[in-house]
Symmetry: C2
Subunit: 192 residues, 2 copies
């Protein structure tokens, strides 16, 4: 491979690889992902802001290859719930991933196939290990963009379908200025 | 896995994971790696400084798992040749690796099994892809520590033996203030 194919510079403010396009997810792309549907509809009537953007560096798909992505989640909330990514399992369920914080403050929600949940803090100069067989979502709990890198096997693949169907069992919400991970069902009862 | 096992903070100045021990490589550990043997012996008589240090974050060895290491190469030269790591192939030759620059300025020397070489720049906010079947060495070409992360398959393994026997075919040297990658044999002729 040539030099240009082996190196990327990235912008920790923009959350992009220099010169590369990024994929944008707007609020309208996230129908069904936020718990508070009334707050979601109200926000969408007011506009269709970018929630997050991702760009990938995929130099090879050979056996043993790795891929990398850089992402930026904007600051914001839908009701009490912070802006979030859709989240996914890897299609190759055993595939792990490292997330490396570059800027801002947030959390990752990790959920095993058996429904065990963990909330892990992600910020600049920290690295999170997402084990295999674990759905993962990233949440911006701060008031500036959350920017991070993800490194994963080229063979990992992304399975968004399982999460799109059932969503995560937990939500990360701002209750009186404190970030809390609670059961989606319990949170929905507070809205009823 | 518990929370503490899934996250590490790292110090971009020290080049360590917070609270973890690191492995130190001193000049005396690098016998045979620098081209200019007379300069190496002279430097060793004057002391035995740390050349680089590495610490690893290895949360799992399961199928599909990833490992991460943080390293810091001190600034310095042996003759015209910049401080460097031993360099290695992966034992699983197909295994790739991403290097993520955190501070300082340097280069990576990549050498295929067929002896094709490339020099790629590594600095803060850049990421380098090391393909499979490629020996890789990191070189600090600046006057401050070079600090970086490496992310690789837990199955990659490290094969230092092949490089210890034959060394890299190229050296990275400071010629009149310019970093140059040249043939080791050509460089040795300039010393003779």
């Amino acid at each position: 491979m040539r030099f240009s194919e082996l190196m990327r510079e990235f912008d920790v403010e923009e959350g992009t690889f220099s010169g590369d396009d990024c994929s944008v997810r707007r609020l309208s792309d996230l129908q069904g992902y936020f718990a508070d549907e009334a707050a979601y509809e109200a926000a969408l009537e007011a506009g269709d802001p970018i929630v997050y953007s991702v760009s990938a560096f995929t130099p090879s798909n050979d056996e043993g290859a790795l891929h990398c992505a850089i992402a930026r989640i904007e600051p914001g909330r839908i009701g009490c719930e912070w802006y979030l990514t859709k989240g996914h399992f890897h299609a190759w369920r055993a595939a792990a991933e490292f997330y490396i914080g570059l800027g801002g403050e947030g959390v990752m929600v990790l959920e095993s196939e058996h429904g065990e949940s963990q909330m892990v803090y992600l910020k600049a100069n920290s690295i999170i290990y997402v084990p295999g067989y674990t759905a993962h979502r990233t949440v911006n709990t701060g008031d500036v963009p959350l920017v991070y890198l993800g490194v994963y096997s080229a063979a990992a693949g992304h399975d968004y379908g399982a999460i799109a169907q059932r969503n995560f069992l937990k939500v990360v919400v701002d209750f009186d200025g404190k970030n809390t991970m609670i059961d989606r069902e319990v949170f929905l009862e507070t809205l009823a």
